[in-house]
Symmetry: C2
Subunit: 195 residues, 2 copies
């Protein structure tokens, strides 16, 4: 079946978000990333700042925070409520229109649809460091720490909510090393796959 | 740097070998698969039949067979000697000419070269079963067992000799789901990446 939704999972610093945004522009379809935070906030009743910090990443406290965090009377933690709101919005967006969705376990959330192209973008350390030091104006040591922390929180969130392993090839239709292939070629390959 | 060597790792039944062979034909470059068994046999002094059964797969006994198998006076097991012979041949082939190499941990063995495109091909269960039942003239149940056994032995061999995880996206330049993308498109994408 032809693919009309593109999900992009990505390592921090791999340029995956940039590639996804370019693909959406070139295909003339919607692009969903931080711009859905407002909707998640509205749906969950929590603040956009809280969502920004927690909706895609595991708590800084780590995995145990999920397993043992405070539950309400229904057995749901605040994290679960955010996740549920985010999940519903992603399901609605996919139903509504062709789009690119960045992160947020969208590959797993949309697993029952067969019109979804799931992409994972990763890269080599030197290129990722170069990108992060440039984008965030930090030194190499800080860039390495940001990368390790962010990817660890993404992985923890993904593995907890999906029971799959983040970055395992078989979860995705297409995995690309953006350092070796270049951003332009990554975009071209993704577009080739939704033809 | 331009890629002149293509390594193809693949799930059993994903058509990875077929895709690799087609790419080699279309690019007019050498194709190495079972046809290097004779060379490995010569180099290691073991029989081609033994190599066929053991050079890419872990022993049927599983991982412990590696760790605790009999060692000669240098501390090497027979499996290690086969692996060493295979490794040297792959290094020589990559040095000699542009080529496609199927399996045999070639991605890891060639990791110090920057002219290698490492590809992992995987697929969805129904399509893999269909391919195996057709190719090997077996029933579905037998196909599922062949798949589980072969992939387990490939994974065990890979993880043991590379200290990496077989099928983890970041080991490869490109990972493709052949069931969703189709064999033709997989071939086209691979060729696009060595341009």
């Amino acid at each position: 079946m032809a693919k009309r939704i593109i999900t992009i999972s990505r390592e921090f610093g791999s340029g995956g978000r940039f590639i996804g945004e370019e693909v959406a522009k070139k295909l003339g379809i919607a692009y969903y990333d931080k711009n859905i935070i407002g909707q998640i906030a509205e749906k969950s009743g929590l603040s956009p700042e809280y969502i920004q910090e927690n909706a895609e990443l595991s708590p800084k406290k780590g995995l145990f925070a999920y397993a043992f965090s405070g539950r309400d009377i229904t057995g749901k933690s605040v994290e679960d409520m955010v996740y549920e709101a985010q999940r519903n919005i992603i399901l609605e967006l996919a139903e509504k229109e062709p789009c690119v969705i960045i992160g947020r376990n969208a590959d797993y959330i949309l697993k029952d649809r067969d019109d979804v192209l799931n992409v994972f973008i990763h890269g080599d350390m030197p290129e990722k460091i170069k990108r992060i030091t440039g984008l965030y104006n930090v030194k190499e040591k800080e860039a390495v720490k940001m990368m390790a922390d962010t990817d660890k929180r993404r992985r923890t969130n993904y593995n907890f909510y999906t029971d799959q392993n983040w970055g395992k090839a078989s979860n995705y239709t297409l995995c690309l090393n953006s350092s070796q292939l270049g951003y332009d070629r990554c975009e071209m390959i993704i577009m080739e796959c939704v033809k």
